[in-house]
C-alpha cells in the first residue's frame, strides 16, 4: 500500500538520521588535541635543545643595574621595541650578570649599546673607546642628575656630618650616583669612607634603598629619582642632596657602524617619554632619563672625569 510504503521510507530516513547523529557524536566526543608523548622519569640532560645560534644583525643592549633586575628588564624591553620600529634594526636586551660589568661587555663585544652612568661611560671610553650617543634628560633640563643621601624618617642623622661613625650603603663602585657623587659629598663634608663605621657596595640603587629601609645601614646613597619617590612616600628622609652632575648616557661600542649609530641616536632623541611613547614604556619615570634624551656636551663630563681620577675610581 502506498501510504504504508511512504511511512516506511520516513521511518528509514529517521533511523538513518539517528544513527548518523550518534556516529557523529561518538566520533566528535573522541576527538581532542593531539598530545606529544614525553617521559618525565627517563631523563637525559643531553637531550636539551642546542643553544640558539648567534643572531646576525641583532644588537645587544646592556644596562647598568639601577633597580631590581626584573624591573630594569621591564623598563628597557619596551624601549628596545620602539627602537626596532624606528630604526629598522633588531635589538636584544642583555642582562649583565652581577659578577660582570657593562663596560667590559662593551669591550668584549657582547654588548653594542649600553645605558650606563657617567662613570661607567667614562671607563668604557677610556678603556675601549666607547662613544656616548645621548645623555638622559632630567627635570633639570640640563641632562644632569643628583645623588641623595637618605635615612629612615626616625633616624637622628640630619646632615652629612652626622654620618661620622655611622654605616652607609653605597652603589656599585662604577656607579656615578651610587658611589662617585656620594664620595664627593662626603669629601666636601670633610669625611671619607674611613670615617664611617662601615659601608657596603650594592649592585643597584634599589638594593641600596632596601639596605636602609631594612635597617641594615643607617643611611644610603642612591639616585635622585628613586630617592625622591621614597621620600615622598614617607618611607625615607633626605639627609643631603648633591650638586647636579651629568646624567646617564647611552654608550655605543666603537665598532658599530655609523649608520646604525646615527639611526639609534635619532630614534632616542625622538623618544617622547611623557607624551606619545609614554603608554608603551614601563615606569620610565624611575629611570635616570625620565624626560628622554638629549645631545651631550662633552665638556660637562670633564669635571666628573677629574673627580673620578682624583678618587682613583676611574681605572
Amino acid at each position: 500500500m502506498r501510504r504504508s510504503a511512504g511511512g516506511g521510507h520516513g521511518l528509514n530516513r529517521l533511523a538513518a538520521w539517528v544513527v548518523a547523529v550518534i556516529a557523529v557524536v561518538v566520533l566528535a566526543s573522541g576527538c581532542g588535541p593531539e598530545a606529544k608523548s614525553v617521559s618525565l622519569t627517563d631523563g637525559d640532560a643531553l637531550d636539551l635543545p642546542a643553544p640558539p645560534p648567534p643572531e646576525i644583525g641583532v644588537y645587544s643592549f646592556g644596562f647598568d643595574r639601577r633597580l631590581e633586575p626584573s624591573e630594569d628588564v621591564r623598563m628597557y624591553v619596551p624601549l628596545l621595541k620602539i627602537l626596532e620600529e624606528r630604526t629598522g634594526y633588531r635589538f636584544r636586551l642583555h642582562v649583565t650578570p652581577a659578577s660582570a660589568s657593562v663596560v667590559d661587555e662593551i669591550g668584549n663585544g657582547s654588548v653594542q649599546f649600553g645605558a650606563v652612568g657617567t662613570l661607567s661611560y667614562l671607563a668604557a671610553e677610556k678603556k675601549y673607546g666607547a662613544e656616548a650617543l645621548v645623555a638622559g634628560r632630567t627635570p633639570s633640563e640640563d641632562a644632569s642628575y643628583r645623588a641623595l643621601i637618605v635615612t629612615l624618617p626616625t633616624s637622628d642623622i640630619h646632615g652629612i656630618a652626622d654620618l661620622r661613625g655611622r654605616s652607609l650603603a653605597l652603589g656599585s663602585p662604577s656607579s656615578t650616583q651610587g658611589h662617585l657623587i656620594p664620595r664627593l659629598m662626603l669629601r666636601s663634608a670633610g669625611l671619607s669612607l674611613a670615617d664611617l663605621s662601615s659601608f657596603q657596595y650594592h649592585s643597584s640603587h634599589a638594593e641600596t634603598a632596601n639596605a636602609v629601609l631594612s635597617g641594615r645601614f643607617d643611611a644610603g646613597a642612591i639616585q635622585d629619582t628613586l630617592g625622591w619617590q621614597l621620600i615622598q612616600e614617607g618611607r625615607l628622609r633626605l639627609v643631603a642632596e648633591s650638586e647636579p652632575y651629568p646624567s646617564s648616557v647611552i654608550a655605543v661600542a666603537p665598532f658599530v657602524s655609523p649608520a646604525v649609530v646615527d639611526a639609534v641616536r635619532t630614534a632616542l632623541l625622538d623618544l617622547d617619554t611623557t607624551g606619545r611613547d609614554a603608554p608603551r614604556l614601563y615606569h620610565w619615570e624611575r629611570s635616570e632619563m625620565p624626560l628622554g634624551f638629549m645631545l651631550i656636551d662633552p665638556s660637562r663630563l670633564d669635571r666628573v672625569r677629574e673627580h673620578a681620577e682624583e678618587l682613583g675610581i676611574l681605572r
Partner: protein, 642 residues
C-alpha cells in the same frame, strides 16, 4: 516486499523519542565540547597565570644567577601547588635548567615544549607516564630568552567533563522516557479525533452521508470535522438534487414521450399519469378534466386510486368533483389541505394526497391533477416542481389535442362550406335557368307570338295590330323588369353605385317590406364608402340575415344598423321573430340540412379578420352582429371566434 505499517500514534511516539534522543545526543556532544573547552580554557588561563607568577618570582634570582634561590622557589612552588606535575626554568643560551622533577631533567621535555623565538607563551599537550599533562610556558621576562614551564594534569578537566557528561546522559535518558510518555499521550490525544474522522470518512465513503461527526474540538481537527460535515451535507444535498433531477427528467421525459406519441386525450392523460407515478414512486393519481364552462367533465385515474375514489368520492365518480376549485389559486397543489369531498378519506396516517395541480391550456384551467403518496416517502418542493412541470406539459398536450380537434372540425366545416358554395352556385344557376325558362323565355316566346300576330294584322286590321303591339310593349317592359330583378339578385348594382346602406335598405325593403315587415335601416359614423370587399362581405351577411328573417323569423320588425367606430365596421340585424337554438342550428350533427347560411356568415367575416356572432333565444328574436376591422389583415393573423 510489504513494509511494516505503523499507526500515526506509534509514529508520533517513535518520531518524538528519536528527536529527543538525537537532541539529547547533540546536547551531550555540544555540552561536552563546551564544558571541555571552558574547563580547558580556564585551565590554560590558570596554567599561564601560574607560570607568569612563577616567572615573576624567578626573574630576579635568575638574573642575579642565584640558582639556589631559584631552586628553592621552585621547590616551594611545587610543594604548595598541589596538583602541579612539574615546574622548571630553562635558559636556552646557557642550556641551564632548574626543575622540580626527581632525577635528571628529561631534555626531551624542554625540546618538546620549547617556546618559538617570537612567542611569549605556549600551551602543549603531553602524554606522560603520569597521564595527560598540559605544559604552560612563558618567558622569564618579556624580551628575554629564559623560559618558565609549569605542567598541570588534565585529570581535573577529564573528571569534570565526565561528571557533566554523565549528568547530561542521565538527564537525556530521563527526558527520553518522559518524552516517550508525553508523545504517547500526545499521540492518543491527536489520533483519537483523527480516528473518529477516519471512521466517519469510511462511513461516508460507503454512502452513509447522513452521519454527522460531532465537533467537540475547537482546533484544526475540529475544523476538519466541521469541514467534513459540511462536505458530507453538500454531498448529500448534491446527490439528493441529482436524484430529484433524475426523477424530474425521467418523469418529464416519459411524459414528453407520451405526449408526443399519443393523440387521444384520455390515452395521453392515462399514460402520462402512469409515468409520473412510476417516476416519482407514488401510489396513484387522477386527473379531472374541466369543460368549457369550467365544470368537471371527465376523470382519468391510475392505480388503485380509481377504485378507491369511486368508492369514496361520489362527486368525482359522477364528474362533479370540486377539487379543481382550489387550483385556481396560485400555489395550489402544495399538499393535503382540508377537503370537504370524498378525497379526504384517502388521507390516512400512511398516505397523503397532494394536489390539485392545475393543468393550464389556452389561458385557462382545463383540468387538475391529484396524486397519492406514501407519507414515508413524502413529496418535497422539487417533487412539487416536477408535478407542476408535468402539469404544464399535460396542459400543453391537452391544448394541442384541443387545437387539433378544432382544426379537424374547421377543416370539415370548410370542406362542407365549399360543397355548399358549389351547391349554392348550382342552385343559383338552376334558379336563373328556371326563371329564364319559366318566366323570361315564356315572356319572350309570348312576345314573339304576339309580334307575329301583329305583323299579320297590320295589313288586315291595323287598329287591332296597334292594340296588339301596345300589349306587346307592356309585355316587353315586364320582361325587362324580370331580367333586371334577376340581375339584381345576383349582385345589386345599387351596392356598387350607392354603397352598403342603400343596398341593404333595398334588399330589406324588397325581401321584408313586401311581406309587411317593418324595416328600419340606420347608420352611424358612415361618412365614406367602405372598401369594396368589406362592403360586399357585410352586404352578403346582411342579405343572408334578411333572407333568414324573411324565411324563418316571422318577425314583425327588423332593425338594420351599420356603424363604424374605432376602426371597426359593425353590422347588426335584429329581429323580433320567434328565435331559434343557435347551438342546435349550428351543430351539423343535429341538423338535418347543413346550416351553411349561418356558418357562411361567420366564414365570410373570418376571411376579413372579423367575427360574426348570432345570438338568439326561442321566442325572443335573433341578433346577428358582424364586426370587421377596417385595417384588413390576413385571416391567419386573427383569432377566429365563431
Amino acid at each position: 516486499m510489504r513494509r511494516p505499517t505503523l499507526l500515526l500514534g506509534q509514529r508520533i511516539v517513535l518520531t518524538t523519542t528519536s528527536i529527543v534522543v538525537v537532541m539529547g545526543l547533540l546536547t551531550v556532544a555540544v555540552l561536552q565540547m563546551i564544558v571541555s573547552q571552558t574547563l580547558g580554557r580556564e585551565l590554560d588561563e590558570k596554567g599561564l597565570a601560574t607560570a607568569r607568577i612563577l616567572a615573576n618570582e624567578l626573574a630576579d634570582p635568575m638574573l642575579d644567577a642565584d640558582f639556589a634561590g631559584v631552586q628553592r622557589i621552585l621547590d616551594h612552588f611545587q610543594r604548595d601547588g598541589g596538583s602541579i606535575v612539574y615546574a622548571y626554568v630553562y635558559d636556552p643560551p646557557a642550556r641551564r635548567v632548574v626543575h622540580t622533577l626527581s632525577g635528571t631533567f628529561p631534555g626531551q621535555l624542554a625540546a618538546a615544549v620549547l617556546l618559538p623565538p617570537d612567542s611569549s607563551r605556549s600551551v602543549h599537550f603531553l602524554a606522560t607516564e603520569r597521564g595527560r599533562v598540559r605544559d604552560y610556558g612563558v618567558r622569564l621576562l618579556d624580551g628575554l630568552d629564559q623560559e618558565v614551564h609549569v605542567g598541570l594534569p588534565e585529570e581535573s578537566i577529564v573528571a569534570s567533563i565526565d561528571r557533566v557528561t554523565w549528568l547530561i546522559v542521565t538527564l537525556t535518558g530521563v527526558g527520553v522516557a518522559v518524552a516517550a510518555v508525553l508523545a504517547w499521550v500526545l499521540g492518543r490525544y491527536v489520533t483519537r479525533p483523527l480516528g473518529r474522522l477516519a471512521a466517519a470518512a469510511e462511513d461516508i465513503g460507503k454512502g452513509q452521508l447522513a452521519q454527522d461527526i460531532p465537533v467537540a474540538w475547537h482546533d484544526e481537527v475540529g475544523a476538519l470535522a466541521d469541514a467534513f460535515n459540511r462536505m458530507s451535507a453538500r454531498l448529500s444535498e448534491t446527490m439528493d438534487r441529482e436524484r430529484r433531477r433524475n426523477r424530474e427528467l425521467t418523469a418529464l421525459n416519459a411524459v414528453a414521450q407520451v405526449v408526443s406519441t399519443a393523440d387521444d386525450q384520455t390515452d395521453v392523460l392515462h399514460r402520462a399519469v402512469q409515468e409520473i407515478i412510476a417516476a416519482l414512486g407514488l401510489d396513484g393519481g387522477w386527473v379531472v378534466l374541466l369543460g368549457e364552462d369550467g365544470q368537471p367533465s371527465s376523470t382519468v385515474a391510475v392505480g388503485d386510486i380509481g377504485r378507491d375514489l369511486a368508492s369514496h368520492c361520489t362527486e368525482l365518480a359522477t364528474g362533479t368533483c370540486s377539487c379543481w376549485a382550489t387550483s385556481r389559486e396560485v400555489g395550489a397543489g402544495r399538499g393535503d389541505g382540508e377537503r370537504s369531498c370524498g378525497v379526504s378519506s384517502l388521507v390516512t396516517p400512511a398516505k397523503t394526497v397532494a394536489g390539485p395541480f392545475p393543468l393550464f391550456a389556452g389561458g385557462r384551467t382545463v383540468g387538475v391533477l391529484n396524486v397519492v403518496a406514501d407519507r414515508a416517502i413524502g413529496l418535497n418542493d422539487h417533487d412539487f416542481g416536477v408535478l407542476q412541470g408535468v402539469c404544464r406539459q399535460l396542459g400543453l398536450a391537452l391544448d394541442r389535442a384541443r387545437l387539433w380537434r378544432s382544426l379537424r372540425d374547421r377543416e370539415a366545416r370548410v370542406s362542407q362550406l365549399l360543397q355548399t358554395v358549389i351547391d349554392a352556385q348550382e342552385d343559383e344557376r338552376k334558379r336563373i335557368a328556371r326563371e329564364l325558362h319559366d318566366e323570361t323565355s315564356q315572356s319572350m316566346a309570348a312576345l314573339a307570338v304576339g309580334l307575329k300576330a301583329a305583323s299579320t294584322l297590320v295589313d288586315r286590321d291595323p287598329v287591332r295590330a296597334a292594340q296588339v303591339l301596345e300589349n306587346l310593349k307592356d309585355a316587353a317592359a315586364s320582361t325587362v323588369r324580370e331580367i333586371r330583378n334577376l340581375v339584381s339578385d345576383l349582385r345589386p348594382t345599387l351596392l356598387d353605385d350607392m354603397g352598403l346602406v342603400p343596398a341593404l335598405n333595398w334588399s330589406a325593403s324588397r325581401r321584408l317590406a313586401e311581406h309587411g315587415v317593418d324595416v328600419v335601416v340606420t347608420s352611424h359614423g358612415v361618412n365614406d364608402r367602405l372598401p369594396p370587399r368589406i362592403e360586399t362581405t357585410l352586404f352578403r351577411i346582411g342579405q343572408e340575415a334578411i333572407n333568414n328573417a324573411a324565411r324563418h323569423a316571422r318577425a314583425r320588425r327588423v332593425q338594420i344598423d351599420l356603424s363604424i367606430a374605432q376602426g371597426i365596421a359593425t353590422l347588426s340585424i335584429v329581429d323580433d321573430g320567434r328565435g331559434f337554438n343557435v347551438d342546435l342550428a349550428t351543430n351539423c350533427d343535429h341538423q338535418r340540412r347543413q346550416p351553411f347560411g349561418l356558418l357562411g356568415m361567420a366564414e365570410r367575416a373570418g376571411l376579413l379578420g372579423g367575427t360574426c356572432t348570432i345570438t338568439s333565444l326561442l321566442g325572443e328574436g335573433t341578433r346577428v352582429e358582424a364586426r370587421i376591422p377596417l385595417d384588413e389583415r390576413p385571416q391567419h393573423d386573427r383569432e377566429h371566434v365563431a
